[in-house]
Amino acid sequence: MQKRSYRIVLILSVVLFAFTSQLFATGQTEAGSSDGPEESYMRLAWWGNPVRDEKTIGVANLYMDNNPNVKIETETTGWGGYWDRINTQVASASLPDIMQHDYAYMLQFVQRNILTDLTPYVDSGVIELGKVSETFLSGGRVDGKLYGISLGTNAFSLVYDPTVLAAAGIAEPDSTSWTLKDFEEISMEIYKKTGKQTMPFSTTDPKVFFDNLIRQTGASTYAKDGKSLGFTDTTVLKEFYNMQLRLLEAGVLVAPEIAFVTVTAEEGQLAQGNVWCDYIWSNQLASTQAVAENPLKMVLLPQIENAKRPGTFLKPSMFFSIPASAENPDEAARFLNFFLNDGAANDILAAERGVPIPSDVREALKASASDVNKVVFDYIGLVADNSSAIDPPDPKASGEFLKLFRDTTQEVLMGLISVDQGVEKIMKDGNAILAK
């Protein structure tokens, strides 16, 4: 009996020690690789999935082929894990040389001096921005300094299935002129004729939809300094809720118990054929289209009454930033330029991160773009002519505010509180959160 226990341990040990060599081999290549005097070593980090990984690694390899002295170490995870890892790396001062960044977290990183100002690299021509219009760059600017370069442009949109409208005998909406009222009528009409419902306004983050409406009044969700709400007139907020409640009352709106469950694109109501439209960022069209029955179309969100300006804006889908602690920032900047402007590199990337910002790259890619990407390219072109400037990056307390907004929206739609109560909650608690 005793012997048998030992035998288990023995077998385990043998199997394990077979792997030992491997373990230490890994350690050794590590030490050797960063030794050479001329070798330029840099770490590149991004979030994504295997498809994006393959493309990004492809560009890194291409860059290393062109510059044999450079060694790029790639570090990648999915979106969720990415920020856990990056935050831990900030705390231990071990950020990579170049990292993918998001608009939502930009300001906090800049305020803590974690990122490098890229302006000197632009001035010296290391990063070539001659073909890039300022509207694509402003998202990466804080107080006039450039902290991130957009890897693709994004805009919020209403995506719909034109065959549903055709079946209901309704004309397709015109981006530049249709109103919220039109939207309500179309939704009611479609439900009557086809039984297809309407999604509540952007359930993952209802603030995005509301933001578009409030921007049309000339105000914005957050005040410029991010310390309070950027609006005091609650008319739009009330209508935001009242319209959804009217639709819900009529059975047109998907019940909040269903709509607010976080699901994958494949499980979404549009993919399931239950609704006629959804509200997505333009770079989500590929995944939305992949699971939809018919070719989808994109339009701008409808206009409110007496709109003072377009509510839609161009937003960097993601940035490349260079941390202030980067050990090899110069190489990182050269790589960034390559990633941004090089034709061969962009052929590999194929606009997977969003519509590229240099006009020549954009034109070159558009010609060879897939049908889905063509829709996105056209939509971005449309937005470029019908947009207003992006608001400053989200303030630090925005995470908590978004939760408040989403929770309140659910409470209102589930009938747990009245519209007035909901509005008061957002105004009062929202200001308190932002003032913290």
């Binding site: 890892r85 231990s92 590929a286």
Partner: protein, 286 residues
């Protein structure tokens, strides 16, 4: 009918009842897992479509496996499985052996400060990992252990509180007389541990091995923080990389690789299970 056949019939009936109940409940238990396996052969549309609850795929799409295994083309699941085996193997070996040593110390030796340290051990169990994650990372970073398996393996040699507690409970079930008679026979403490206690707590050791293997195999946050390079990724880490909320997700490949990742855990269970089922040969006792 004489009483003997009656008894036999009764036993057969109760056996039939037992098996029927076990199979029906077993199917309910297993359905979600079977569904997952069946999804690994389906198309995305089948997985999420009208007939998504079906356990029988339209056609057996084995390319889900090849596509999933390929991962990003540069690093494949061959690497991830190898890494997972290294990490899980060493970590489990360390966790189980060390825990048994430590448990013996806590259960059988009265030393000053024993209760204090035992309480400290429970404290480490109760504090949520999320708040010690950052300072812990800094320690391993300063040690230069990031991007090696060391931060995942070495701490396991310090024992795992769950296993230590488990083994303490089992050791306390063994009469002290055994230790005493061994002592009279000239055994020292280590010999009592290795020759008497260790073999007698085999069910606990086996249970700990099965758990440790699964926990380490399934661990996500440790590998996420300490292993940045794809060539060091483990299976559980790679599996999470498939899903990205912003782009399309290859669900069939996730289910395929998810199914494969269950196999080692099940195999380990099957290998060690028989030692639980067999139980103790108790002739050595009393």
């Amino acid at each position: 009918m004489d009483s003997k056949t009656k008894k036999l019939l009764k036993r057969n009936l109760s056996s039939l009842g037992f098996h029927t109940a076990a199979v029906i409940i077993g199917f309910l238990m297993l359905y979600p897992v079977l569904w997952m396996i069946s999804n690994s052969f389906k198309t995305t549309q089948e997985i999420f479509g009208q007939n998504s609850f079906s356990l029988i795929p339209g056609e057996l799409l084995t390319e889900n496996y090849t596509r999933g295994w390929r991962y990003n083309g540069t690093t494949t699941f061959t690497t991830f499985f190898k890494n997972s085996f290294i990490y899980t193997g060493f970590a489990t070996l360390g966790a189980v052996l060390s825990s048994s040593l430590i448990a013996f110390g806590f259960a059988r030796i009265r030393f000053a400060g024993r209760n204090f340290w035992y309480t400290c051990m429970f404290l480490t169990l109760m504090i949520p990992f999320q708040v010690v994650m950052v300072p812990q990372f800094i320690i391993f970073y300063k040690l230069g252990w990031v991007n090696t398996f060391l931060p995942l393996i070495v701490p396991m040699f310090g024992g795992v509180p769950f296993f230590i507690f488990l083994m303490v409970q089992f050791i306390r079930q063994i009469p002290v007389d055994l230790d005493n008679s061994a002592k009279i026979d000239g055994c020292n403490k280590f010999m009592i541990y290795s020759r008497i206690i260790f073999p007698l707590i085999k069910p606990a050791l086996i249970t700990a091995t099965i758990f440790s293997f699964y926990w380490r195999w399934d661990d996500f946050i440790g590998p996420l923080l300490f292993l940045n390079k794809p060539k060091l990724f483990t299976v559980s880490l790679a599996l999470r990389m498939f899903a990205d909320p912003q782009t399309s997700t290859d669900w069939p490949a996730i289910f395929a690789m998810g199914t494969l990742s269950l196999i080692p855990v099940i195999v380990i269970f099957l290998i060690f299970q028989k030692y639980i089922v067999q139980g103790l040969v108790t002739t050595g006792l009393k």
